[in-house]
């Protein structure tokens, strides 16, 4: 059965007719062509699909597009500024080599940003616990933790180099 879903995605209003069973991640990837959000599992555990819905991180594979009707959605494609400059968390991931194949990265970055919003100065332990819902197979998490720490500092206006120590 089709239904119409409307929402704002990365600041732009969108509206589509979709099957009711359409997941938010499918809506983003297949209907809007925004393939930055990835599907890595089918049991809602890997976190590759994390986006922000009304400011909170959500696994978009575990939410129907219809449930996001009327919401304000931000995806990885919406993080960088209009002039292309990276969000401090994106920049921190690059600086600290927090990604290798890049597949878990969009979800990891989105989760990290929400983690830091709730906890602006997280310890290593808090970062590791906070990212429990994002699986990475490449990096071993070591540099992701460094990146998130640096990204947190930068989001507060500190310099990235200081955070790296």
């Amino acid at each position: 059965m089709p239904c119409t879903v409307s929402m704002t995605v990365n600041g732009k209003a969108v509206s589509r007719e979709v099957e009711e069973r359409t997941l938010l991640v499918t809506f983003l990837r297949d209907h809007l062509g925004m393939t930055g959000t990835h599907v890595g599992c089918d049991t809602s555990q890997c976190g590759a699909c994390v986006v922000h819905v009304d400011g909170r991180s959500v696994k978009s594979c575990t939410m129907l597009a219809a449930q996001a009707d009327g919401a304000d959605v931000t995806t990885i494609e919406g993080l960088a500024a209009a002039d292309g400059s990276l969000h401090p968390m994106q920049a921190a991931f690059r600086e600290h080599h927090g990604l290798q194949c890049g597949f878990c990265t969009p979800g990891m970055v989105m989760s990290a940003i929400d983690l830091v919003k709730d906890n602006p100065n997280p310890t290593e332990h808090e970062i590791r616990e906070g990212l429990e819902g994002n699986i990475c197979r490449c990096t071993g998490y070591h540099n992701i933790v460094k990146a998130v720490k640096a990204g947190a500092e930068a989001m507060q206006g500190g310099s990235m180099k200081a955070a790296a120590e």
Partner: protein, 796 residues
């Protein structure tokens, strides 16, 4: 002054720009006009005869275009997925190689074996219709574990492999080993399991087949680590498509770890189906489908014995291993428990006599093939557990027993008794650096402090060596490889001085777009942003064997160096002409071409422009252009080596093992980009820890059902399961036989880590009389082991 973008610099990655902004192009991201979607109907039984397939209802479902079966493929004379490595048994007979069709024909042999494919307008329609396909299965008994599959009464997986035996192989000198055992003062014996794992790259496999009817060109886009290998295997052996009419593209690939090396049936199906339906056909695996059908790793059951003299010197090692091949031979499967395993059984030690026998077995489970380390983690785990058990049994300190047996650096190059000749390495040095990193001497004090808090503490070592940079083609061929293992590169300068490097290597996380560019920046002083690395598309790159076996810099990088050598030779001639000097007077300094003893110099950019606008150019001696290609066949394997030290704390009330400290010291020869090298180590360490503590791929022994079929039941290491690491490397022992001096680093972490963790766990549990435990050391297993201990032991 060192080039900030040259060799040894921690250059930040170029590829991050697209990955961080969601602009990567992974196979499932690609949309082809008019594409259709494929969903496979897969056997729910581990072993079954396939009777009729009734697609009537499915064909009536909305959006369905076709339902195709093994019979349809057979009618089109589609061949069997080939195996790329042939092993011979002890008696000289070749291994059993039963056919492996892309869609099963009369029998399904593992849960997940495809029996039909539904092609529809949308993925949802294809999924819905797949449930309507009626397959008449006659369920058969299944042979599930490798050990049981070998006992005479097990069900046969293949008619032409009696007793489910694929091959019975050996290596080494049995007589010398037996003689040494007769003299031994002590013999350590151990039964070990190296458990089956699921590689679980985060991107599930996917493939898109396309056919251009106008010119007869096929294109396959696939999540592969080696597109040319797929083109050759699929084109020549499966679909009968001449290579010049088949293009294979591996775009951004989200991790591989070996699981994306192999030619999978789905690749052939979408390529074949695209021509049949006249539209592009796209398939993407669900994660559960990946669990069922990606090649699994490891699955060895071994018995090992180590003979020692009274001073703890190793006299001989004998090993007997049963290796599970799964239901069919995957592309490199026979090489993994033979030439990538037994040849490493000397480890870092001078053991003079070694003998290994390996039986490879078919079972009704998913095919098993290379997974990060491929045979070398299995070898290292076996040796390093044996060494620490021997140390415990003889009362010799675990570090000391290693020192007594290390091959000394001065003995290099060292011919092992198991075919390989190590080129360089200083094993004692790795240990000397590693022990202070974890304050090894302070361990007893930390152990006492843990005890005060009611916790157990243990420390374990693993000194590993591996053979990588595969491989010299003639050696590989002699050992059964049905391919060469060289690598290719083309270095193309453009008129305005920028460079494109076409490489046969493939990057699926390794950062080649950055590290390979560093090689050019260093050699010719080209600004790194002007160097582009192209990989993954067979229509663009020369024939390459792809990325695995820690070979990209050692072999791929060396091919780039050879091509750059050719560029330099030509550039010198051009420079000599332009500078009116003798060719022998031209030197290359910091990327500039200088007339020796003068300040007359040209940049490579000046020379490139002249090469393409040849107005002041020796046209009667030299062709225009500056574009050179090279193929590099390695002279030997490379031998990265190192020492891992792991410290664990165990809560005896819950059995939970926590890794509280982990240090890795590695010899990778020369390091091109330390940031990337350390990243490879971190990732490998967590995979090794994952095997030791968390991961296990389990099939039900009766039904052959995959029990660990999703992340609900297969425990992937997460960020809070592992610590940060102390990682160091030294460059004092460069590889002596490739131009870069590199040894490779991609698999090292995985190879050494599991043994270090298990040795630490056993050390912590030794007060309970626990001497061995198979991986993973889950809380349940650890807790049970503690409960079984005698009260007297538990009370200590």
């Amino acid at each position: 002054m060192a080039n900030p973008n040259g060799i040894g610099a921690p250059v930040r990655r170029r590829e991050d720009a697209r990955f961080l902004t969601g602009r990567g192009t992974y196979t499932d991201d690609i949309i082809r006009p008019n594409q259709t979607h494929a969903v496979f109907v897969r056997s729910p039984y581990a072993h079954a005869r396939i009777g009729g397939i009734d697609a009537g209802e499915a064909m009536k479902a909305p959006g369905v275009i076709a339902v195709l079966t093994g019979a349809d493929m057979e009618a089109d004379k589609v061949g069997s997925l080939p195996c790329g490595w042939q092993i011979h048994s002890k008696d000289g007979s070749p291994m059993k190689e039963p056919p492996h069709f892309p869609i099963a024909r009369d029998r399904a042999r593992y849960v997940g074996d495809p029996v039909a494919v539904v092609i529809a307008e949308t993925r949802e329609q294809a999924k819905d219709a797949a449930e309507l396909v009626m397959v008449d299965y006659e369920e058969l008994p299944a042979a599930v574990t490798s050990v049981k599959a070998l006992d005479g009464s097990a069900p046969q997986v293949h008619g032409d492999a009696p007793g489910n035996l694929c091959f019975d192989w050996h290596l080494g000198d049995a007589a010398a080993v037996d003689a040494a055992f007769a003299q031994a003062a002590h013999v350590t014996k151990l039964d070990l399991v190296n458990q089956r794992l699921v590689p679980n790259a985060m991107e599930p496999r996917a493939a898109i087949g396309e056919y251009d009817r106008a010119n007869g060109d096929h294109t396959l886009t696939t999540t592969s680590q080696n597109p040319h290998v797929i083109r050759l295997l699929m084109g020549a052996f499966v679909l009968g498509i001449p290579e010049h009419k088949l293009r294979v593209v591996a775009p951004d690939v989200g991790g591989g770890f070996g699981s994306k090396i192999f030619h999978y049936g789905e690749e052939a199906v979408v390529t074949w189906a695209a021509k049949k339906v006249g539209r592009p056909v796209k398939w993407t695996a669900d994660r559960s489908e990946s669990f069922l059908t990606d090649a699994h790793g490891r699955d060895h059951v071994s018995h090992a014995e180590l003979a020692l003299d009274k001073d703890g010197h190793f006299l001989a090692l004998k090993v007997s291993t049963i290796a599970n091949m799964g239901a069919y031979l995957s592309t490199f499967a026979p090489s993994v428990p033979t030439y990538l395993y037994a040849t490493l059984l000397a480890g870092q030690y001078k053991t003079p006599a070694i003998y290994a026998e390996v039986k490879a077995v078919f079972t009704n489970t998913a095919p098993v093939d290379a997974y990060r380390g491929a045979g070398r983690p299995e070898a290292c785990y076996l040796i390093e557990r044996m060494v620490e058990v021997a140390a415990a049994e003889t009362g010799i300190d675990k570090a000391e027993i290693r020192r007594r047996n290390f091959i000394p650096a001065a003995a290099m190059p060292y011919q092992t008794p198991v075919a390989l000749q190590y080129d360089t390495g200083d094993f004692a040095k790795n240990l000397d650096i590693a022990l202070p990193m974890v304050d090894y001497d302070g361990f007893q004090a930390r152990k006492a402090e843990s005890a005060k808090r009611g916790k157990l503490r243990g420390i374990g070592l693993s000194t590993y060596i591996e053979a990588c940079g595969i491989a010299p083609s003639n050696i590989a061929g002699a050992l059964g490889a049905r391919a060469g293992l060289y690598e290719s590169a083309e270095v193309r300068f453009h008129p305005t001085g920028s460079v494109t490097v076409f490489t046969g290597s493939h990057s699926h996380g390794q950062g080649h777009e950055t590290t390979f560019a560093q090689l050019v920046a260093e050699r010719f002083g080209v600004p790194i942003e002007n160097v582009e690395i192209v990989h993954g598309d067979t229509s663009k790159i020369p024939f390459g064997m792809g990325t695995y076996g820690s070979r990209s810099l050692a072999v791929g990088g060396s091919a780039i160096v050879k091509a750059m050598d050719k560029v330099e030779r030509k550039a010198k001639k051009i420079a000599a002409h332009m500078l009116e000097a003798a060719e022998s007077d031209i030197e290359v300094k910091d990327g500039r071409f200088v007339v020796a003893g003068t300040d007359k110099a040209l940049s490579i950019g000046d020379i490139a422009l002249q090469a393409y606008v040849p107005h002041n150019f020796p046209l009667d001696e030299l062709e225009p252009g500056l574009d050179e290609q090279a193929f590099y066949d390695p002279k030997n394997f490379t031998y990265p080596n190192g020492c891992h030290v792991c410290e664990v704390e165990i809560d005896p009330d819950t059995g939970v093992v926590q890794v509280v400290n982990f240090a890795a010291v590695d010899d990778f020869g020369r390091v091109i980009n330390p940031l990337i090298v350390e990243g490879q180590v971190h990732g490998g360490l967590v995979q090794g820890i994952g095997q030791a503590l968390f991961e296990n791929c389990i099939y039900d022994e009766e039904s052959g059902q995959l029990i660990t079929g999703s992340y609900m039941d297969y425990c992937m290491p997460r960020a809070d399961d592992v610590p940060s690491f102390a990682v160091q490397y030294h460059e004092d022992q460069p590889c002596t036989h490739n131009p870069l001096g590199v040894k490779g680093c991609g698999e090292a972490g995985t190879i050494g880590a599991s043994a270090a963790v298990m040795n630490a766990v056993m050390d912590a549990l030794s007060p309970y009389g626990v001497t061995h435990m198979d991986m993973p050391a889950t809380p349940e297993k650890v807790w049970q082991a503690i409960q079984r201990a005698t009260p007297a032991q538990a009370a200590e």
